[in-house]
């Protein structure tokens, strides 16, 4: 069974978001990395890019599948995880920790409340 952490919010498309003030860290869930299999490539936007919730902001690839990453909230990218770009295997090892993908300055913090709770995501992923 894939793990779901209690300290963050989730989307139906298997992204997670974790907020510290205005700054929100985004990644993909353990369920997502397990279904993809060995991740071979990660594509992320550049720092400074502004986007709306639900827009495609990047993609994660395994040998035979590719999955788009959707923005869980609207905002501006403040940081991109270079480690995961250089070593995509990190996503298989530590999707909630070292393999976070981007940091976002949220333009509408209220959107966070509309994301799934860990319980709701658990139900969805099953």
């Amino acid at each position: 069974m894939s793990s779901i952490l209690p300290d963050r919010k989730y989307t139906k498309d298997h992204e997670w978001a974790s907020a510290k003030g205005q700054s929100v860290t985004v990644g993909i869930t353990d369920f997502a990395q397990t279904s993809l299999g060995d991740v071979t490539f990660v594509q992320l936007p550049e720092t400074g890019k502004v986007f709306n919730r639900g827009e495609i902001i990047g993609s994660v690839e395994s040998v035979k599948a590719v999955s788009d990453i959707y923005a869980p909230i609207s905002g501006k990218i403040t940081k991109v995880n270079q480690d995961v770009l250089n070593d995509p295997a990190l996503l298989n090892q530590d999707p909630y920790g070292k393999a976070w993908l981007i940091e976002v300055e949220a333009s509408n913090a209220g959107e966070l409340n509309e994301l799934l709770s860990p319980e709701a995501y658990k139900q969805h992923a099953e």
Binding site: D38, T40, F41, E61, S62, V63, K64, P88, A89
Partner: protein, 491 residues
């Protein structure tokens, strides 16, 4: 002295490592002419060309060894669904390299290549009769380019009617090429869900058409589940009633040859895959030949050059005002046309009538033989291919991929797996009409044996882990290939 077992070298050397300075594999006569002036320094190449220096035997051995690492139709059966891996008769290669055709320049004056043009004209005639279309262009290089041509014709037809319709309906069971081709032509793709029978949903098509922006439908018939779209006439009528066109992906034409003609059902455009239906060699992935047939109202949109016959003489015409234009260099893969022409002429009317018939019979044999061991996705008679799944084997922890790799241990190439996408764990089998019943029976026995293995306690570890085990190569690490890209000798 003791006899030693011959073993394959652990590595097949890469060509560059076989290179020895001063070795030669060529024989060219001296130039009859004096050396041309020196090339200006700013334009000339200065490095030693990055090619190996090898004797002819070194090269012969290298490529012979490489060839021996391939599975091939000549070596065994390919039950690959949707790929129609039938026998490639050798006589095709004799005509397909015939010196009276092989050296013809594509831009030779038409009067000097009448035999080649007559052959194209004849082949078009055969394909027209087999498919029921008004005209067939032989130019497209492969099935995918055939799709491109078909979609460009839809676009040109809509434009000629002053219509701006921009949507193409594509069933969810379709090959990925269909949506990719539609996108390359700038169409918007609308995915159609298959109905409970695995077929096109007539009502859904009607609903989309009523919205007024549907330009066409891409249908594969029989579809990728091996099922005949029995309502194809009605569906064509709905599309036509809404001034939209029907494109048939001819990937599965093999099932219809001699039995039914897509043109008669109301299909407007269809491509043929000559390597599937008419035995041009698969060649490890190409080249293909993707002729496209169209109904009468679309003839003026066909790509140039257009083959014309006046009296007894033939010519290629490059000016055709409504044409979508040229789509590739010259008049297509002529040497492939030569091969499929040879095949159809050998079979003649009587043989062609058996293509679809035998393909369908053998596929149904596989269906009834294996439906006791594997879960049949749609329990009805199939056409030329049949789709099972790993539903029953999953319970014991064995998946489709395991079954595929295990088949290799028994000397069979795996079937098509995980396609169509709408059947989870799909195992898609297409025997083709050139296989004997005995070979098909042998394949079924092996599949049954594997199914039996999966019912044993701990079968996954016992039989499936590490397969294939009996080949020079074990499982290839595709993840490593994608993570650490090494695409040339020097990278």
């Amino acid at each position: 002295m003791s006899l030693q077992q011959i073993s394959w070298p652990l590595e097949t050397d890469q060509l560059n490592s076989l290179s020895k300075k001063g070795h030669k594999g060529f024989s060219i006569s001296k130039s009859d002419f004096e050396a041309a002036d020196k090339i200006p320094d700013s334009l000339s190449r200065k490095d030693i060309l990055p090619l190996p220096e090898c004797s002819e035997l070194t090269i012969v051995r290298h490529f012979t060894r490489l060839s021996q690492l391939n599975y091939s139709i000549d070596g065994g059966m390919y039950p690959l669904g949707s790929c129609t891996m039938k026998y490639n008769p050798r006589i095709n290669e004799v005509s397909g390299s015939h010196p009276l055709f092989a050296r013809l320049h594509p831009l030779s004056p038409c009067s000097t290549v009448q035999g080649a043009l007559e052959l194209m004209w004849n082949l078009e005639g055969l394909l027209k009769e087999i498919s029921g279309f008004e005209r067939v262009t032989l130019i497209p290089a492969a099935g995918a380019q055939g799709e491109y041509v078909g979609l460009q014709i839809i676009r040109a037809y809509m434009k000629s009617k002053g219509s701006k319709k921009n949507k193409i309906l594509i069933p969810d069971s379709a090959h990925g090429t269909n949506p990719a081709s539609a996108a390359v032509c700038g169409f918007e793709v609308v995915s159609l869900k298959s109905n409970a029978e695995g077929l096109l949903d007539k009502e859904a098509i009607l609903k989309h058409c009523q919205e007024g922006d549907v330009a066409g439908l891409m249908v594969t018939n029989p579809n990728t589940l091996g099922l005949f779209e029995k309502e194809i006439q009605m569906i064509c009528k709905i599309m036509h009633d809404h001034d939209a066109l029907v494109y048939c992906d001819g990937a599965n034409m093999n099932a219809m040859v001699g039995l039914t003609r897509p043109g008669d059902a109301g299909v407007d455009i269809m491509h043929f895959n000559q390597h599937k239906t008419f035995t041009t060699p698969h060649g490890g992935g190409g080249p293909g030949c993707g002729a496209v047939g169209v109904c009468a109202k679309l003839v003026s949109f066909l790509p140039t050059p257009i083959l014309e016959k006046t009296g007894e003489s033939f010519k290629l015409n490059s000016s055709s005002p409504q044409s979508i234009g040229p789509i590739k260099d010259f008049q297509g893969h002529f040497m492939m046309m030569l091969r499929s022409y040879t095949y159809i002429r050998e079979l003649g009317a009587e043989g062609v009538a058996k293509i679809g018939r035998h393909a369908v019979l053998l596929a149904n044999y596989v269906r009834v033989r294996l439906s006791e061991s594997f879960d049949l996705a749609y329990p009805r008679p199939c056409m030329h291919e049949v789709v099972f799944s790993d539903k029953r084997q999953q319970k014991n922890g064995v998946k489709t991929l395991d079954i595929a790799k295990r088949l290799l241990d028994f000397g069979f190439h795996p079937p098509t797996v995980y396609f169509p996408l709408i059947v989870p764990g799909a195992i898609m089998i297409e025997p083709t009409e050139t296989e004997s019943l005995d070979t098909v029976e042998e394949f079924c026995k092996v599949m049954e044996q594997i199914a039996k293995e999966t019912t044993e306690e701990g079968s996954h570890a016992k039989y499936f882990v590490g397969s294939p085990k009996t080949l020079p190569f074990s499982k290839i690490d595709e993840t490593k290939a994608a993570r650490d890209l090494k695409l040339t000798w020097n990278s």
